[in-house]
Symmetry: C2
Subunit: 281 residues, 2 copies
C-alpha cells in the first residue's frame, strides 16, 4: 500500500503527495525536515509538515520573487535573502547581473540537506563567488547590519514557528532602513483564499512604515488554494506601476530562460481579484 504525505496546514482541507521514496527525515533545532520523491512532483521538501518546495514547480515562486523585482528595478547590485534554505531564490537571483547576494538562513541543516538532495533547486548558487552565506537569525542580522540592499527577499515559512518574527513590525522597519532609495522588499504572504489574515496583517503593518507597498500574485501549484500573495514594499520604487516596455527590453537583453515569468505575466501579476482587494482595504 502506498505511503502518503498529508500536509498539515489546514484542518478541513489538505493536499497530499504519494511518498515514492523517502530520502531524508530529521529534526533540526528549529523544525522537522522531510525530503521525499514523488513521481509527478520530483523531490519535495516539507518543513513541520508543510510543503516548501518541489522540483517540478519551484520555478514559479522563485522566478516571481527575483526576476519581477529585479527587472522592475533595472539596476540592482546587492540582494539580501532571508530564509530560502533550499537555495532556489539564490540561484534565480544570481542569473541576473548582480554583484553580491547575501543569504541569511537560520537552519543550517535545511541548507545541508537541500544541497545534498535537491541540487536541481540550488544549482551552483552556493559556490558562486558573489554569494555570502550566513547561517543565522535573519531578524538579528537585519537589526545589526549596516549594509543596504537593492532587493531584500524574505523566503520564509508561514508565520508560525521559527518564521513568526519575519512577519513583525520590527522586522519590517529594520528591512525598510536597509533598502537603497529605489530598493524593494518582497515576501511570501500566504494564499489569500485560505489564509486571508496573512495579507491583511502584513498590509496593516507595512502601510504605516512604507510610502509604497502592495501585493502581486502567482499561481503556484503546490501552494494549495489558488493564488499566493507576494508582498512588496519600497521607499522609492512603485512596483505596482510596471513599465512594460522597459521590463520587456531588459528581459530580452538578459535572455534568462524563465518558465513562468514573462513581461506580460509581470504586469498581469498586479491585477488583484475583488476578494483580494477587499482584504487590504
Amino acid at each position: 500500500m502506498a505511503r502518503w504525505f498529508d500536509e498539515t496546514l489546514y484542518d478541513t482541507q489538505r493536499q497530499s503527495f504519494r511518498i515514492d521514496r523517502e530520502i531524508y527525515r530529521g529534526r533540526s533545532e528549529f523544525q522537522e525536515i522531510l525530503i521525499f520523491e514523488n513521481a509527478t512532483l520530483g523531490r519535495v521538501l516539507a518543513l513541520d509538515g508543510v510543503v516548501q518546495v518541489t522540483e517540478r514547480d519551484e520555478f514559479v515562486y522563485h522566478e516571481m520573487l527575483t526576476h519581477l523585482p529585479l527587472n522592475a528595478h533595472g539596476a540592482a547590485r546587492k540582494v539580501l535573502i532571508v530564509g530560502g534554505g533550499d537555495g532556489g531564490i539564490l540561484e534565480e537571483a544570481l542569473k541576473q547581473p548582480i554583484e553580491r547576494a547575501v543569504m541569511v538562513e537560520i537552519d543550517g541543516l535545511v541548507i545541508e540537506q537541500c544541497r545534498k538532495h535537491l541540487p536541481s533547486v540550488c544549482g551552483k548558487a552556493f559556490e558562486d563567488p558573489r554569494t555570502e552565506l550566513i547561517v543565522g537569525d535573519g531578524v538579528k542580522f537585519m537589526a545589526e547590519t549596516e549594509e543596504r540592499f537593492d532587493l531584500i527577499v524574505v523566503d520564509s515559512t508561514d508565520p508560525v514557528g521559527p518564521a513568526v518574527e519575519l512577519f513583525g513590525e520590527a522586522f519590517f522597519r529594520a528591512a525598510r532602513d536597509r533598502l537603497t532609495d529605489r530598493g524593494v522588499l518582497v515576501t511570501q504572504n500566504g494564499v489569500p483564499f485560505f489564509q486571508p489574515q496573512e495579507i491583511s496583517d502584513t498590509y496593516t503593518k507595512r502601510k504605516k512604515l512604507f510610502p509604497l507597498t502592495g501585493f502581486y500574485l502567482a499561481a503556484i501549484p503546490t501552494y494549495y488554494g489558488g493564488f499566493m500573495a507576494l508582498g512588496w514594499a519600497s521607499n522609492g520604487l512603485d512596483l505596482a506601476r510596471p513599465d512594460r516596455a522597459a521590463i520587456a527590453k531588459r528581459h530580452a537583453q538578459l535572455g534568462i530562460a524563465t518558465r513562468y515569468y514573462t513581461p506580460d505575466i509581470h504586469v498581469a501579476a498586479f491585477a488583484l481579484p475583488s476578494f483580494v482587494q477587499e482584504l487590504i482595504r
Copy 2:
C-alpha cells in the same frame, strides 16, 4: 475520527476535504453524485470522485466563464450552456442583460440534487423566464439545433466519462456553426500544470476550425494545481485583445458585484506563463 473525501483525479497527488456532513450520495445513469458539507468550503459537489463546485469558491470559475466573454462581446443576447448542472453559470450569465439562456445538461439527477442542496450556487436561475432548461445530450443538441448563440459555455467535467465527446472535433465544429458572427465559445480546459494534454489537444483541434482561438487563466482554489485554463474560440471576436476601456465602462454600468472578476483581471487573464505558452505552440 473525521471522514475525508479524497479526490481521485490523480494517482500521485490529491486534495482532500473533511466531510463534516454527508448530504446526498447517489448514482445517476451517468455518474456517482456526492454532496457534502465542509466547514471551510461550504457545500461541495463531487462527480465520480472529482470536485465540481464548492459554495465558497464557485464564484471564480462562474464569473470568469460568463462576465469575461459577455463584457468583451458587449451586446450578447443569447447564451447556450452545455453542462453546468449546478446552475452556477446560468445564474451568473443571467445577471447580464441577456434575452435568453438555454441550458442543456445530460444529468437530470445532478440538476435536481443541486437545486435542492446547493441553492446558493444557482439562486433563482432555473425559475428565470429567460431560461430554457433541456435535460439531454449537449452533443446531440448542438448537432440538431438551428439556433445561433452569442455565447456558448461548455461547463463540463474532464474529458473522461460522459464529457469525452464535448472535447471532440465534431462537437467543436458544430459549436462553431452555432455561433453568431461575433459569438464566442468558452470551455474549461483543465489545469495545465497537471493536465497539459487537455490544453494541447484542444488547441490542435480548434486551430483547424476557428480563425480565432486561445486560452485565458483563472486561479480556482479547489481546481487543484495552480491556474485552470479556460479555452475560447470565435469566428469574429478576438477575445485575446480586450478593449480595457470599453470593458471597464460596461462593467461599471452593469454594476454586477463580482468577487473575482474585475476589468484588470479580465485583461490579466490572457497573460500566459511560459510553460503554458509552450503547450500550445
